[in-house]
Symmetry: C2
Subunit: 250 residues, 2 copies
DNA sequence: CGTAGCTTTGATGTAGGTCAAGAAATGTGG
DNA sequence: CCACATTTCTTGACCTACATCAAAGCTACG
């Protein structure tokens, strides 16, 4: 009975919901998953979750809150690679590699489940389906990083911002934290600047421009899509590049 | 006897060599791998290997030649996400997702082994170690994409170019196609421009600058490191972020 | 209810883009 | 092995998107 309860609650987690979009997880898979991350941890806003260059790190699955993963360059500037929202795997690379190549830091207070390297690799041998599912999730994350890279390489500041806000919206909708109207967003203009490769003051100007042209309004922690369709058009956003139409592997 | 020969030749392929850096592959793993890609294919320079938006694509393991993966934007510009060199997996995302989110095109004539989705997923259930190894390889690719993203977001054009040439050198050295002095490189300045988010003429200026300051010379298809240490210093290149010190999983 | 972090705005500077056009390479067919 | 075509490289003149610097108005939370 106890095991059943655990499995049910795991099944309901944002992480399982995400993986289920790709493979239909069996009861067995869910049992292995619930074994995987039993240790719940809390992180306050100034504390590092993962630190660049350090070895023997854990990974986490984000249960609640927002985090950012970033790299610090020699000249002290930083580039935010991605934001993590509930359901996201954090620091997979930091356990697959010996030393972590990036930092992860909470943006809001965070609840996360710790995943040990050994447990993860053991889980893969126990249920290869889970390995496939994790590979899929990792590839989906890579797809987002790629899209972000295209942002930085070839899109103008305002299109870049528009695209970013739309993509974040799609991701949040997948885990039930956004809808067509908009979403709550704890990112400061400084964080946006470091993610989009812009200066904070230019971020401000771009946001004003988008607001004044009636596309999106991002003010006091909330993103509101004033004209979703026009924004999609303006950003050249591919509506369904993140969407899945049901599990590939049954 | 025949099987043994196959296994031996697979063991020698750049792909197996790369995976071995992470997990020690057993005889069994190698047998499964040799089953995996028996179909050899050839691609000429103008032919697409993978096409954005198309469904039911194959993946490949590059045996010889160079390829580029890129995205085309609505305004017609393109962003090259990565170059593929021998040993690289191509189009993993295009089989894990229903439709491919990017294009892959040969830069030189290419020899590649086709990998079918079903075969790959079957192979994972047969030997979970292989799944782990592929996950590792995918993560390593993601690490490179991330580094490329940092390039575009926060590095100046000349540092960006320096960093790019060094990284490419490291990757080529892993498969025996480069050494400390330099390497042969079939990339035109247009390709470099599309990869680095610059214009072709600025690429030219930057290459001249790097040549005149005695750091690197890239001329007529060959990259020569004139002063490797100074270049590493100039680029803020982390020498060993791609290096592995032997298998993690034995 | 003060102070530290955010946001907003203006003025000025610069890295890198665009346009244009000539010089080398490289490839192709005879 | 040479003429011709095509791509690739190189350089100069000019322009624009975004950075930097500076300073004032918010907002929130201890």
């Amino acid at each position: 009975m106890k095991e059943l309860t655990t499995v049910l609650s795991v099944q309901d987690s944002p992480f399982a919901r995400k993986l289920s979009a790709f493979v239909s997880l069996t009861h067995e898979d869910l049992v292995v998953m619930s074994d995987l991350y039993r240790r719940r941890r809390h992180f306050a806003v100034g504390s590092d979750m993962i630190h660049q260059g350090q070895t023997g790190q854990c990974a986490y699955v984000l249960a609640s809150g927002w985090a950012s993963s970033y790299k610090i360059l020699v000249d002290g500037t930083r580039q935010i690679v991605d934001f993590q929202i509930p359901g996201d795997f954090i620091g997979l690379r930091s356990i697959l590699f010996r030393t972590s190549d990036h930092n992860v830091e909470p943006i809001t207070p965070v609840q996360a489940s710790e995943v040990q390297q050994r447990d993860l690799l053991d889980a893969f041998t126990r249920t290869p389906r889970l390995a496939t599912a994790v590979l899929w999730a990792a590839s989906r994350d890579e797809a987002m990083v790629v899209e972000h890279l295209v942002d930085l390489g070839r899109r103008s500041a305002s299109v870049r911002m528009a695209h970013f806000l739309l993509e974040l919206g799609s991701r949040l909708r997948l885990v039930g934290l956004a809808n067509r109207d908009g979403y709550d967003c704890p990112l400061s203009q400084y964080l946006l600047a470091d993610a989009l490769g812009l200066s904070a003051v230019h971020v401000n100007r771009v946001l004003r421009e988008l607001r004044e042209t009636g596309l999106v309004t991002f003010q006091r922690g909330r993103v509101v899509f004033d004209d979703y369709d026009a924004l999609v058009e303006f950003a050249g956003f591919d509506r369904d590049y993140l969407d899945q139409e049901g599990p590939l592997l049954t």
